[in-house]
Amino acid sequence: MMLDSILFYFFAALAVGSAILMVTRRNAVHSAVFLISTLLAIAGIFLQLQAEFLFVVQIILYVGGIMVLFVFVIMLVNLDVAVRQMKFNRQSWVAGLLALVLGGLAVVVYRSGGGAFNLMGAPATTMPPNAEQVGTVLFQKYFLPFEIASILLLVAMIGAVVMAKRKI
């Protein structure tokens, strides 16, 4: 239990810290690096939740795939001017405040509904081999959504190619 908690707090702190840094860094590359860090921390939390498969998927897809894309694009469109421009837009103060209000409200809602969710009842049992289980459920119960998701990816891929092509 002890190790569990330590791991959680470590990853949580890492995630939140990196996230804050990600939002506040001026340099987009740094932002990306901190986002990667956040994502890895979240992956760690997945691992701590005994979801090995998702842990690996998170790393492969998010960190190894999506973020590479981001870094790549940042380098492609890297503008030296960007470093000297304003970081935040003109509504930033209002927006930040409102976001915090939103968070506060959410906390209030959550706390006041605490009785409604049975939030402590977590089973201590270890789950069966995770990848296999995910696969079984994914290809049986969620087969149709899976196919739809694959079509979504296909569409996105074609869209991205068409979009990024110089001449269509």
Partner: protein
């Protein structure tokens, strides 16, 4: 296992940070990254509840969300590249017309 509330607060924190990023940053790429963060916050919730109920359905949804994030990133970045080719800027408040 830790109480689910821990995970919920964590995800809430990440969510709000993501929202702040989306609302305040001018760089479109960072806005996109903030959106990714928001999606991840949701994932944490899903995973926590999945663990709580001892069923993998939540993980499946997390997979779908990751899929969606990948699609979104691909198309979004594609749009940025296409846009950048027309007007060398990545600032969100300079992109306020539907057509050049």
């Amino acid at each position: 296992m830790l109480p689910v509330s821990h995970y919920i607060y964590l995800s809430l924190a990440l969510f709000i940070i993501g929202v702040i990023g989306v609302l305040t940053r001018r760089n479109v790429i960072i806005i996109l990254m903030s959106i990714e963060l928001i999606l991840n916050a949701v994932n944490i919730n899903l995973m926590a509840f999945s663990r709580m109920w001892g069923s993998v359905d939540g993980q499946i949804f997390a997979i779908f969300i990751i899929t969606d994030a990948a699609a979104e990133a691909a198309v979004g970045l594609g749009i940025i590249i296409a846009f950048f080719r027309n007007r060398p800027t990545v600032l969100a408040d300079e992109m306020d017309l539907l057509k050049w």
